[in-house]
């Protein structure tokens, strides 16, 4: 059973608008969540993270929201830019484990149209 799910395989938005990428998880023992961005033919790169003790973390145009009761997190990109077009992976870490031992979702391909 997949513990981290990104139910939207793809998302298309217009440049300048908001992009919202969603992620659901099932294991209540996850305590740390990360988002990675991946361009074609490159390795994923870390984007932003959030601890389960917080409900929001912001870094420039990127904000991650965590709703623990719903076991749901979302990544907001405002404003979206064409360079944001990439695959975004949500990842979750079990409590007291290294963040590298994360469980990944299948990814959402974001396309930002000029």
């Amino acid at each position: 059973d997949q513990q981290v799910k990104q139910n939207s395989p793809s998302l298309s938005v217009q440049e300048g608008r908001i992009s919202i990428l969603n992620c659901d998880y099932t294991n209540s023992m996850f305590d740390y969540f990360l988002w990675y961005k991946k361009y074609p033919a490159e390795g994923p790169t870390f984007l932003i993270s959030i601890s389960s003790i917080k409900d929001k973390n912001e870094d420039g145009r990127f904000t991650v929201f965590l709703n623990k009761s719903a076991k749901h997190l979302s990544l907001h990109i405002v404003p979206s830019q064409p360079g944001d077009s990439a695959v975004y992976f949500c990842a979750a870490r079990l409590i007291n484990t290294n963040a590298g031992k994360s469980t990944f979702g299948d990814g959402t391909t974001l396309t930002v149209k000029p």
């Binding site: 990675y36 490159e42 390795g43 994923p44 993270s49 290294n98 963040a99 590298g100 990944f104």
Partner: protein
């Protein structure tokens, strides 16, 4: 340059052959990882290492062998490659609680 380097970037082999994917990091991170990514799917952990000479299985370890004699190197060996091991393999490193730093990936095709 600092970072993680993987080699080879592309490899084609035949069923039953042994293949080794190399991974080298210059950050002196304690942890190193091997993930595989299959088309349309997320990353699945194969093996990881918390320090030199300490390795442990991840989610999908069958058919793979790892070693870590030096902190900076973490090779992944497919002892007898199968078609199901056709994938893109990513090596990564991290500090104790931090995010992953990935290499550029090794695309392996098993015919």
């Amino acid at each position: 340059d600092a970072g993680i380097t993987q080699s080879p970037r592309y490899k084609i082999t035949e069923t039953g052959r042994q293949v080794t994917l190399m991974c080298h990091q210059t950050w002196s991170h304690s942890y190193m990882f091997w993930y595989r990514q299959d088309l349309g799917h997320g990353l699945r952990l194969i093996y990881y290492s918390a320090a030199a000479d300490i390795t442990d299985k991840g989610e999908v370890p069958d058919g793979y062998v790892v070693s870590r004699s030096k902190t900076e190197n973490f090779p992944l060996t497919l002892e007898s490659a199968t078609r199901s091991q056709t994938s893109v393999y990513f090596c990564a490193s991290s500090e104790v609680t931090g995010e992953l730093f990935f290499g550029e990936g090794s695309r392996l095709t098993v015919l």
